[in-house]
């Protein structure tokens, strides 16, 4: 892929990527009660990185984000599976999710749910897989 030499695009993306990433994380966290969740959050995260690809080229991004996304996908699936096993340890069926309210310092009354852990797995799997696909296709020359 050719590297575009576009000053406006580069300048805008530098800011936009941060916003998209923040938005992605927000989407993920708010997923429990508002629209969002692991799948969407993960994909939005990917969208940010894809923007970087388009602007800076794959090689440069790969150098700056030295992550093996295949492993990210695998980790995600493992996390999801293990949160399922977690229920079994307490004698509950596989993938049984629990939640409770915990009074944390600083955050105050906060809801903690194992479903969020599961969602982390989903998000990682989505990010890992999409990035693997995009990088392999984009890299093919």
């Amino acid at each position: 892929m050719k590297e575009p030499n576009d000053v406006i695009l580069r300048t805008v993306s530098k800011v936009a990527v941060v916003i998209i990433l923040t938005f992605a994380i927000n989407l993920f966290i708010s997923g429990h009660h508002q629209p969002g969740g692991g799948f969407i959050g993960g994909l939005a995260f990917v969208a940010a990185i894809v923007l970087l690809f388009l602007v800076y080229g794959i090689e440069k991004v790969r150098k700056n984000i030295p992550v093996d996304f295949k492993k990210v996908a695998g980790t995600g699936v493992l996390i999801a599976v293990f949160t399922g096993v977690g229920g079994m340890i307490n004698g509950k069926p596989f993938l049984y999710q629990v939640f409770g309210h915990v009074n944390l310092p600083f955050f105050g009354e906060t809801e903690m749910a194992t479903a969020v852990l599961f969602d982390v797995g989903v998000a990682l799997a989505v990010i890992g897989t999409s990035m693997t696909i995009i990088m392999s296709i984009g890299d093919d020359r």
Partner: protein, 805 residues
Amino acid sequence: MFSFHLAISLPLFYAILVPFLYKKFNQRIHTGWFILFVPLLVFGYLLSYIPSIAAGKTISLTLPWIPSYNINLTAYIDGLSLTFGLIITGIGFLVILYSIYYMSKKKEALHNFYIYMLLFMGAMLGLVFADNIFVLYVFWEITSISSFLLIAYWFEREQSRSGAQKSLLITIFGGLSMLAGFILLSLITGTYSIREMISNLGLIQAHPYFIPAMILILLGAFTKSAQFPFSIWLPDAMEAPTPISAYLHSATMVKAGIYLVARLTVIFGGVATWFWLVAGVGLITLLYGSFNAIRQTDLKALLAYSTISQLGLIMSLLGLGSAALHFGVANKEEVYALAIFAAIFHLVNHSTFKGCLFMVVGIIDHEIGTRDIRRLGGLMHFMPVSFLLALTGSFAMAGLPPFNGFLSKEMFFSTVWQAAQLPFFHMQTWGNILVAVAWLASTFTFVYCMIILFKTFTGKQKGPKLKKKAHEAPFGMLLSPLILAGLVILIFFFPNALSQYLLQPAWEAVLPTLAESASLQIEISPWHGVNPALLLTIGVVLGGTLLYKTLPKWRRIYRFYPQVLTLNNIYAAGLEKMEKYSLSITKRYMTAFVRDYLVYIFGFTILVVGGAALFLNGLSFDFSGDSAINLYELAFLIAMIICALIVLFAESRLTSIVAVGTLGFFVVFFFALFRAPDLALTQLVVETVTTVLFLLCIYHLPKFKKEISSVGFKAVNAVISVGIGLVVTMVALSANSNRLYESISHFYENANELAGANNIVNAILVDFRGFDTMLEILVLSMAGLGVYALIKLRLAGRNENEGTK
């Protein structure tokens, strides 16, 4: 309650740690040392169940897995499963100890070896303790797969790969038919639990599916336990490292079929079909295996055939013993039930003496560098301990005192003798043949046992031909076979201790109905006075010695049998033909043209979905509940139609990609209009990412040009595209108008109480349908890896081609 499950799944969980241990310590410490304690711990834990099992209790522990489908991890502990569990962990411990000396820490990929081994051990434990038939099935297939991986352990060898493939094809074929049999059984009884099936005996035996289910399940058992004619995979499985052959392919995995038959005897036993199938196939296998063992020149192949024959012996005993459940037995149940006892007894004995023999052969292979009988001889002077071990093992197998094989062999003879007197099952005509087959097969067994011992250890030494100088193995390697050989002798002198604590409960577990009505008691003793069994043993020794002495004279008869008709050849020819025909069929429709594939997929959907909707009167439209269409929606609709038309008539690829993307974004608007923000967000992001993907690819695509094609080609395109559009629309409309099932929306209304989430879409994804999501991300990851592999492999291949040019 939970600890038992944890104990038997310990090997599976521990396997996860193995790669890290290997990476960190293998330079200094053999990885096997870290594995060694796993089977030992489980063995010790299982031992703690002996007192309560020996007191006649059975224990059932349930851990819910998928309770909504009634699939639970129920561990059922009785004599039978405990006996197997102890064999699996006990022999497993010895084999791992042996493998530490056998497998070189420098040359071998030890982490793979031990992961497969632990995987197998965990699966095998799960198999014998599972009460749920589907859980049992899953573990059954995992044992097949780990066996496949272990046979192909030295995958750079051609024979290893083909042997692994053969074993996988045959055992998975059997496993699948067994699954079908299990499904039939669950259809009959409406339960997945073996315990509950046993309590519904009358229902099963009167059902028309009884015989089909029996045959299907027996196929599974016969393929796994290498019964004739499925036995051909076992000799090829000897390509695996010797510790594996000793463990999987003689002591444990091949006994899974035996376990299954024993476990289900109470359900199927007592009818003539079962009796003759199990006993008949067992006896044929016994004869076939022992006869073919004699001609082998490779010691491991010889042991493989001997395993086949011994498995046949155990199988036939189980078949003969099932006569005890026949209602016409009339007060003689105990006599026939003895066959079942003999089967379990011989199974334990076989694990000890065959494990010992395999390890000795491994030692010979390891220290001498060959296991070809023609190149061995006179090893007794160099390897006295190995000689003694081989002597113990082979004499036990031949059925001579003072080794444990003698006791169970005697029992085998006496039960065959008893069975020949059966007043039913057409035994009047077949009885004498039965005894003759038993005698003949045992004579052959005697002959090959002598071959193992004397051709290898006595006679002239053929030193110069050997690669390495002969010497005794290190002590660590001898330790495991020494323990086994010690057991072989101990069991002979104290059989009743073993019987009281393990065999007796196992016997009662196989025949639970009989154990209630009649008392199953047995006192094992080596001397019964002069009876048919003893006479048969003497006959075997005499006949065997004669045949062994005259072996060179009659060896020629093996050449008379045409090579073309051997089972191996039939298998190979069948495989080759199947590959050829399926390739030619596949080539007809796999045109490597995406448009054709789309025609198949969409055409099939139109025919099946559309056809079903039409013929089954599935279409019904009811618009009364729908809200009115407003102006926005109409506008979006028109815009979408325009986008779709632009795709069709676009002059450049970029235009059409942008148009497709726009179409997607309009769908987002629709979702937003219909108040589905989650869907809208998802669609938005997916659409963005796919459009970008398209743009990434566009660089690599060939030049865009108008397709000039025939009218027929275009007509098919038109019919398919209009058809699929119609079908999908109609399905969507009538799905909205029908209500086949009760609404489940109350789940979602109460999402906050049930899952603590206000966002019901998310609650569905991560909680209510969490299992779906888990499998989805699994599939997604596999697809991602698939894309990666396809592209990277293609690249690698292309570079190679360029390099060779």
